[in-house]
Symmetry: D2
Subunit: 275 residues, 4 copies
C-alpha cells in the first residue's frame, strides 16, 4: 500500500474526491475590511494569566485591543469566492487581544475571538485563533442616509457581540480626526495551535505557539476615536475577568492584508514542558 496515493483532497475536512468542499482552502488568504479598534488597559495580573510561557508580558503589561470588523476574505484557490457565494466570504469578527512578547519582540496573544460563519471559525482554529460563533452587529455609517451620514468627526459607531443568548462584548467609537497610519498600534499575532488527542484527553496531539505570516498590509482613511468597551458576565465565557478596563483610545480605518500561513515558534509537545 506504500505506493498508493491518498485519494481524497482538501486542506481541512471534509476531504473529498474533487477537493473543493473543504471547509477551509489552503493559504494564501486575502483579507479586506473596516476595522473598529478599541484600545484598553486591564489589571496587569489578570492579563498575565492569559499569556502562557514561553510568551511573556509586553512592555505595557495589561494593555489590550478589541477589534470589531466585517471582513471580505478569499483564498488563492477560490479568488471569486466573494462573488460565487458571499455567505462564505463576508463575515464579522470580534477579536480580543492582549499584549505580550516573545524573545523580546512585542506582539499580541488572542485569548478570545468570535466570528459568524463556520469557514472562518475553522480557518481560525487551524491558525491558533480560539474562535467561537456569535452574532456580531456593527453600526454602518451611510453617507446618503439623511440622518445617519458618513465618516466625519462626531460620527458614532457601535459593535455588539452576542453568543448563546448573552451579550459578551460591546464597544463604541466616536470619530474625532483623521490621522496617519503611523499612529496605529503595530499588531503582530502570537497564536496557540492546539488539537486534542482522541485517545487521551489530558495530552494534546498538537500544541504550539505560532506567529502568523502576514504581508501586503495596507491601511487607509484612519480616524482617531474616543472609545468605550464593556465585557459582560457570562455563564460560559471568561472575558469578563478583564473588567474593569481603562480606555486608551480607539481607531476606525480600512485595512487589507495577506496571510500565507504561520511559523512555529514553540512546540509544547516536544519541549517537554509539564502541562
Amino acid at each position: 500500500m506504500a505506493a498508493e496515493k491518498f485519494p481524497l483532497k482538501g486542506y481541512t475536512l471534509p476531504l473529498t474526491p474533487e477537493g473543493h468542499s473543504s471547509l477551509v482552502d489552503p493559504p494564501p488568504w486575502y483579507y479586506g475590511g473596516e476595522v473598529m479598534q478599541l484600545i484598553f488597559r486591564t489589571d496587569a495580573a489578570r492579563a498575565k494569566e492569559l499569556i502562557p510561557p514561553p510568551l511573556e508580558s509586553g512592555p505595557d503589561p495589561g494593555q489590550g485591543i478589541v477589534w470589531f470588523t466585517e471582513w471580505v476574505s478569499v483564498s488563492e484557490l477560490n479568488l471569486d469566492l466573494a462573488f460565487i457565494n458571499p455567505e462564505r466570504a463576508v463575515y464579522r469578527e470580534c477579536l480580543v487581544m492582549i499584549q505580550c512578547s516573545f524573545q523580546g519582540e512585542t506582539g499580541y496573544i488572542v485569548p478570545y475571538v468570535w466570528v459568524d460563519n463556520d469557514f472562518t471559525l475553522m480557518r481560525g482554529f487551524v491558525q491558533g485563533f480560539p474562535k467561537k460563533l456569535a452574532r456580531i452587529y456593527l453600526t454602518r455609517l451611510s453617507e446618503l442616509n439623511p440622518k445617519v451620514g458618513g465618516k466625519r468627526a462626531g460620527a458614532k459607531m457601535k459593535g455588539i457581540c452576542e453568543a448563546h443568548g448573552e451579550r459578551i462584548v460591546e464597544g463604541s467609537l466616536v470619530l474625532t480626526q483623521q490621522v496617519e497610519p503611523s499612529d496605529l498600534p503595530p499588531v503582530k499575532f502570537y497564536l496557540m495551535r492546539h488539537f486534542p488527542n482522541i485517545e487521551d484527553a489530558t495530552t494534546p496531539t498538537v500544541h504550539e505557539i505560532v506567529s502568523s505570516i502576514v504581508s501586503d498590509v495596507k491601511v487607509t482613511d484612519i480616524w482617531k476615536c474616543e472609545a468605550t468597551l464593556k465585557f459582560s458576565e457570562s455563564a460560559v465565557e471568561e472575558v469578563a475577568a478583564l473588567k474593569p478596563v481603562e480606555m486608551l483610545g480607539g481607531f476606525f480605518h480600512n485595512m487589507g492584508f495577506t496571510i500565507k500561513g504561520g511559523k512555529v515558534l514553540h512546540n509544547y509537545c516536544s519541549a517537554g514542558i509539564a502541562r
Copy 2:
C-alpha cells in the same frame, strides 16, 4: 369612559407605557444604502396577473426590477438607532417590482419582497410591502482586499435570497461604466395595504392602494452593469412564475431618501369592488 385617554403608546404593537418598545416607530423614516438593480422583462401576461385593478399595466408591459440592498435606516423618533442597536437599523432586502400605472402615471407594484429583521418586516407591512423573512447574502467589494478590489469596470457582485431552506432569488452584476443619475429608471411605488378581519377571513378590515410619500432622494456613484437573474421553484413562493426573464440591464449605486408615509389612492373596502 369617553373622557379617558388611551394610556398606552406606540405606532405599532406592542403599545406600552413608555412607547419606545413598538416594533416600528412612526414616519418619517430615513434610508441609505447601496442598491443592486437588476432590470428584466417577463411575459406580459404573467406580469399582468400581479397588477390588481384599479392599477393597470405600464407602458412597457412585463418590465420589472429586482433590488438587492443593505439598508441603514432610522426614524425621526430614534435618530441614533444605528448607533444604539445596529441589529435594528441595518438590514438587507430583496425586492421584486413590476411596472404598472395608475391614472396614467407609471410606477411599480411590489408583489414580493424579503428582508432579514422584524422591524423592517412590520414597517413594510404597514406601508403595503408584502415582506417575508429571508437570509440575504450580498457580495461586498473591498478596495484593500488584495484580490477582491473595489468598484471598477469588471467588478462582480452577487445577491442571494434564501427563505425556509430554499434559494428563491439569485442575481448578479458586472460593473461596466459610471453613468449619470438620469440613466436610472425612475421608481414610484404603488403599494397594497391589507389587514384581515379577525371575525370573517373572507373580507379584510383594511385593503387599499397607496402611493409612498418619498422625498430627499439622492443617488451617487452610479455604475451601469451587465445583469443576470434567476428565480427558483419553491414549495411556498410563486415568484418562479415570472420565469423566464430577459435581462434589460442593471445598475449599482448609492441611494438615500426619506419616507413620510403614504397617500391612499383607492380603498377596496369602501369602493364596493367584488373581491
Copy 3:
C-alpha cells in the same frame, strides 16, 4: 369596474395569483406543544399600566404568567405544513401575560411576546399578539440520554429569550409532581389588534380589543414545578418594568388546541375614546 372580481388571493400579504404564498393562511389554526408555565406576581400598579380600558384589573391584580413553548402549528388550508416545510410549522415562543378582566370575566392581556419565525409573527399580529422576533432556547429532556433523562421529579428545564443581542427573559422549572388538568390556571386571551393609518400616524386605522375563539383544548402529562423568572434591562424592551417578581409556581405540560379567529369586544376607533 364594479363587476370586476379582485384577482389576487390570500389571507395576508403577499396576495398572489395562486394564493398559496400568503405569509399566513386563514383560520382555523391547529396547535400542539409542550408548555413551560411560570406564574408570577408583580407590583399591581405596574401591571395595571399594561391593561388598557375597557379592560380592567383581574381578581388577583399583579398576577401574570410567562409561557415558553415550542409549537407545532398548521392551518386548515395546509394541514401537511409540518411535513412539507417544518421550518414554517415548528416555532418557539416566549409569551408574557398579565391578568385582567372584561365585563367581570377574568382573562389575560399579552403585553409582550417573542417568536422565532415570520409566519407566526404575522399570524400573531393579525390576532392582536404584539409579537417580535427573538431566539428562544429551551431545555429538551431526553429519556435515553444517560445523564439528562426524561420527565420526572427533579428534572430541570430552562427557557431563554434573546432579541437584538439582549437576553430579555429567562425562566426555569424544577418538576415536582404530576397533577390534574384542573390544577392549571385557566387562560382566556384578551388581545389588542392595531394597524396604523398610513396617512396619519396619530390615529390608527384598526384598534380593537378581541377575544380569541379557542376550542378543542387538551392538556396531558401535567407536572407541578418550582419556578424562577428573570426579566432583564434592555435598550429596546420595557418588560423589565415588571421587576421584581414573586414566584407563585409553575407547570410543564402538553397542550393542543384550535383557534378559529376572534370576536371584537371593543372598537376604539368607533367608540370615540380619546387616544
Copy 4:
C-alpha cells in the same frame, strides 16, 4: 522552564485560566435524541471514491445511511449543560455515512455531516466528523395538535438541510409499523481526524483513521418507514455526486449513547503512505 506547569486549561481552544470556556469539554460525552434513518444505495464506484485506504468497501458496496437528528448532549464536566444553556446542548444534525470495512469489520465512514452550533462542529472535528454548519429543519410530530398527531402508522416526517443558501439534503419518512431493535442496521463509525500543518499546507500535522468508542447504546420505540432522499447540486458541496440513490428503507426511533473518545486505527503521517 521545564518544571513550569502550563497555566491555561481546556480540552480545546480557547484555553483559559478557569478552563470552563473551551468550545468542547473532554469526553465522556452523553447523547440522546430521535433519529430519522434513511437507508440508500448509490453507485458502488461513487461510494468507493469516498473510502480512503486502509478502509475498504463493505459487504454491500454503495450502501449508505442518512441520519437527521435533534440531539441533546452533555459532557461529564458539565452534566447540567442542557439546563444551564440549552443553546449549547440541543442541536440538529444531518449525517451522511457510507458503508466500508476495516480489517474485515464492517462500519461506516462519514464523508459529509452538517450541524447547527459551534460546539458540536468542533467536537465533531476533533473526533473526525467533517462537520459544517447548516440550518436543519425537522418535522416534529405532535400528539395533541388536532391535525398533526403523534407517532403512528402513516405519520409523515421530513428533514431538510440548508447551508450557504442552498438546500443540500432533503429526506422524508412515512411510518409503517413498530419493529425490534434487531431490525436496525448496526452502525460502527470509522472516522478521519485531520489537522493541517501551518508551515506547509501540503502535509497535515494530524491525519489518522479512528474508531469511536461508543457505549451504553439504547434504542426504543422503533418504527420501520418508507423513505425518500434527495441530494441537490451545489456550488460548494460534492454530496450530489452520490445521485441517483435507490432507497432501501428507513427507520425512526429514540436513541441514547455515550462516547468516551476514540482509538487510532491508522496513522497516515507515520505510515509513510504517499499523500
